[in-house]
């Protein structure tokens, strides 16, 4: 019974982490593309982006802890950070460890941004564009039954669509400052 509860908790918190992570990436892309409105100033978008990432981290920790504590799959604490060494589905679980490691690095450098400087922060933050798809693949690969559950698939599709749309918007939204620095014409 406890085993089942832990395993279901891990799956559930995993899904919640993915949704929160997707929302984080969406907000990050919108902020990077300088989206703002009177009701949503830049600092608000940035703050919500930051808060979502931290809540995602909390759910991620619970997701990892319940998976490790549950004796069913024999996953160790080390497997949570060192990828591809687990007994249970080493490849797909390994993806989870990679995504988790990247997320920790991204969050840590963001919290220490003023000490580390913009260049290092930006370099690590770009890893978000790797972290998120790796997390999605981890979810699809590791979840045995979930792979065939309709609402889980629907959730995954929604996350992928949202992130793809946000990134596409971000790539198209070029600010005049960026353009002129590259040598583009100044239109007054």
């Amino acid at each position: 019974m406890i085993g089942h509860a832990l395993w279901y908790s891990s799956r559930a918190t995993g899904l919640v982490s993915l949704v929160l992570l997707s929302a984080t990436v969406v907000l990050g892309a919108l902020n990077s593309g300088r989206l703002s409105s009177p009701g949503w100033p830049r600092f608000a978008v940035a703050a919500v982006h930051r808060n979502f990432s931290l809540i995602a981290l909390v759910f991620l920790v619970v997701h990892v802890a319940t998976a490790v504590i549950d004796p069913y799959a024999g996953i160790g604490w080390l497997d949570a950070v060192l990828p591809f060494g687990s007994v249970y589905r080493p490849f797909w679980l390994g993806f989870g460890a990679v995504a988790g490691d990247l997320l920790i690095a991204i969050i840590a450098t963001s919290l220490l941004r003023q000490r580390l400087g913009v260049r290092l922060w930006r370099l690590v933050h770009r890893a978000s564009y790797a972290c998120w798809p790796i997390a999605v693949l981890h979810g699809l690969g590791t979840g045995t039954n979930d792979r065939h559950t309709t609402w889980v698939i629907a959730l995954d599709v929604a996350c992928v669509l949202a992130v793809t749309a946000a990134i596409a918007w971000r790539l198209l939204a070029v600010h005049p400052d960026t353009e002129v620095r590259r040598g583009g014409r100044v239109t007054s």
Partner: protein, 77 residues
């Protein structure tokens, strides 16, 4: 406590405008979106808000300096 002034690295600044959102009492944006900073020191009651504005700049272009800028300029070769 020393007087603190707001200064911006004009090359790093890319007109995000977050500083003006967080410290509208002291920072305006010109017509192209770049901050116009006050020449005077930051009033004590706004120091915390100024620190938040410095932390909030996406390009880390804003800083609070302890030395008044006027002194630095006159003796520099």
């Amino acid at each position: 406590m020393n007087a603190r002034r707001l200064q911006v690295d004009p090359i790093a600044c890319t007109a995000h405008g977050v500083c003006a959102e967080l410290l509208p009492e002291l920072i305006d944006l010109d017509e192209w979106g770049y901050p116009v900073l006050p020449a005077t020191a930051v009033p004590r009651r706004l120091t915390a808000a100024a620190a938040r504005a410095v932390a909030g700049c996406p390009a880390l272009a804003l800083r609070l300096s302890a030395v008044p800028a006027g002194v630095a300029r006159s003796t520099d070769p």
